[in-house]
Symmetry: C2
Subunit: 306 residues, 2 copies
């Protein structure tokens, strides 16, 4: 199968950039994969692993690229765009992988007026970071949301879409603002809550840290996985998707306060009603192939057949 | 190896009761395992699976048992204790598996004045319920917290401890009140938060349920697993550990409000500081063997070796 892009440049060789590079090579979605990272140790490591060719400068990386992927924290995109602007041809597709789309569209659009800016967001990841964290199958069966700006070139949107499909993704097109509200609830709010409860547990005076760790199998450990995600990436997400996050957080706090009130007043019926409906959503997520059906995420369940 | 108890009675053949029965048979921790459940369909199913002998009545189940395990929701323990009281001999050990210990100690102690009431809590489980959900290895490497009342018989406490160790658990002794505070943060609060955010996501008008499901891989899906746990069990936990849960919830809300304020005011330094310390706890939990080291809980990460 022909490559979707003859040459792609990946700026940022962490979990997502490194996974795109690996998947693009493995699937032949890109003819040539050129890498750059301002963290020279990470770039060197990426070159050693060999999932692309490390460029000496960011200008070298993007020159003659058909598509440039910003795989950096959302807050770093403006600086990257400013650096590469002079090297891009009008045919270049510039995309990204950020978890926030409205601000990214604004920033990239302003910095790169003459090229095809088409932001995108692969809804996939792990709690790990860095060039060793990526793997080619990360996007398989996961959704990639492309948020084309109002006057985007349809051909280029289609080509970017093909690229993500080649990596194994399912592709949706969405308005950037709507994307930011959907992800605020399916991704940003869960991460904020996870970070927060880990902080709460760490600060207890009467319960020791070793107790929190020993008895974490009661539920807490699940939150610590999410809260182990890259802090810089998440700081930037919250700073750039402020409005949507604050609104979802407000709704969550209201709902939690209602449960709190039910607990205080011994209102078991309210608790039952709220606790019961969650099972339906879990089942739907598994049926949609968006999570494993394995009990306990498959961990420590060497369940004997009976 | 000799059985720790010649005969045990399991009241409630769900996930935990069914797992104790399976593990007790597999390890020889009990010579004979007798089962009862007031849900006749569940009891019948347990008999078919064959992890114990189904008794016709609860009285038959506990008569001549050396140890009786209440594996029912915390709110159902008083009724079970009242039913079995006349059948127990003074040598019987009565224990349970509830996630709340102070109220259970009170309820069982009051209903069963003449026997050895020694509450316990295996910190293990999955999101599944019912007789088919259990498995013998559920307790392997997990902690079981025994909370002996002040005047408990040391020999019986030791025997119960041996029983749990035989099932693969590590055993801790703890004061019931302290247990309830530790578990409020490592287990009860995480479940309440998970139930709450699933409710918040379900109620959004502008984001469809199908969008929540499709893009749940961004973090939300982790919460839905916990929120798929048994609603009756959790209702009872919150109603009986009210004080500790409300206090931990208050602390959590304060911490979340501080993060909310940092987001509103664009205070990236505070976000970074809070987000950074979570990684240490995650690592400690994995090092302590309390969670799998597999990235993404091992799901969909067919990570190629490179």
């Amino acid at each position: 199968m022909a490559a979707v892009f003859d040459r792609i440049a990946i700026i940022g060789v962490g979990l997502i950039g490194g996974s795109i590079a690996r998947a693009a090579r493995e699937t032949g979605a890109a003819g040539d994969v050129v890498l750059f990272d301002r963290d020279t140790a990470a770039l060197k490591r990426a070159g050693e692993i060999g999932f692309g060719r490390a460029a000496a400068t960011i200008e070298d990386a993007v020159r003659d690229a058909d598509a440039v992927f910003h795989c950096v924290p959302v807050g770093a995109m403006a600086a990257v765009a400013a650096e590469i602007a002079p090297e891009l041809s009008p045919d270049t597709v510039v995309s990204d992988v950020g978890s926030v789309k409205e601000s990214v569209a604004k920033v990239l659009g302003a910095a790169l007026p003459g090229v095809h800016v088409i932001p995108a967001h692969p809804v996939a990841g792990t709690e790990k970071s860095g060039p060793d964290a990526g793997f080619a199958s990360l996007f398989k069966g996961r959704w990639c949301i492309i948020t084309p700006p109002p006057r985007a070139d349809a051909t280029m949107v289609e080509r970017l879409s093909q690229f993500w499909q080649r990596l194994g993704s399912k592709v949706d097109l969405m308005d950037a603002t709507h994307h930011d509200r959907v992800l605020a609830v399916t991704s940003h709010l869960p991460h904020l809550i996870a970070y927060s409860i880990v902080g709460t547990a760490s600060d207890l005076e009467e319960v020791t840290k070793s107790e929190v760790i020993k008895y974490s199998a009661g539920g807490f450990r699940d939150f610590t996985r999410i809260a182990a995600s890259d802090p810089v990436m998440w700081r930037d997400v919250f700073l750039t998707n402020r409005g949507a996050v604050l609104e979802m957080l407000g709704r969550f706090t209201e709902d939690l306060t209602a449960l709190q009130r039910a607990i205080r007043w011994g209102d078991g019926d309210t608790l039952m009603r709220e606790f019961t409906r969650a099972r339906t959503i879990r089942k739907a997520i598994i049926d949609a192939g968006q999570d494993s059906a394995s009990v306990n995420f498959g961990r420590n369940t060497t369940k004997a057949e009976e």
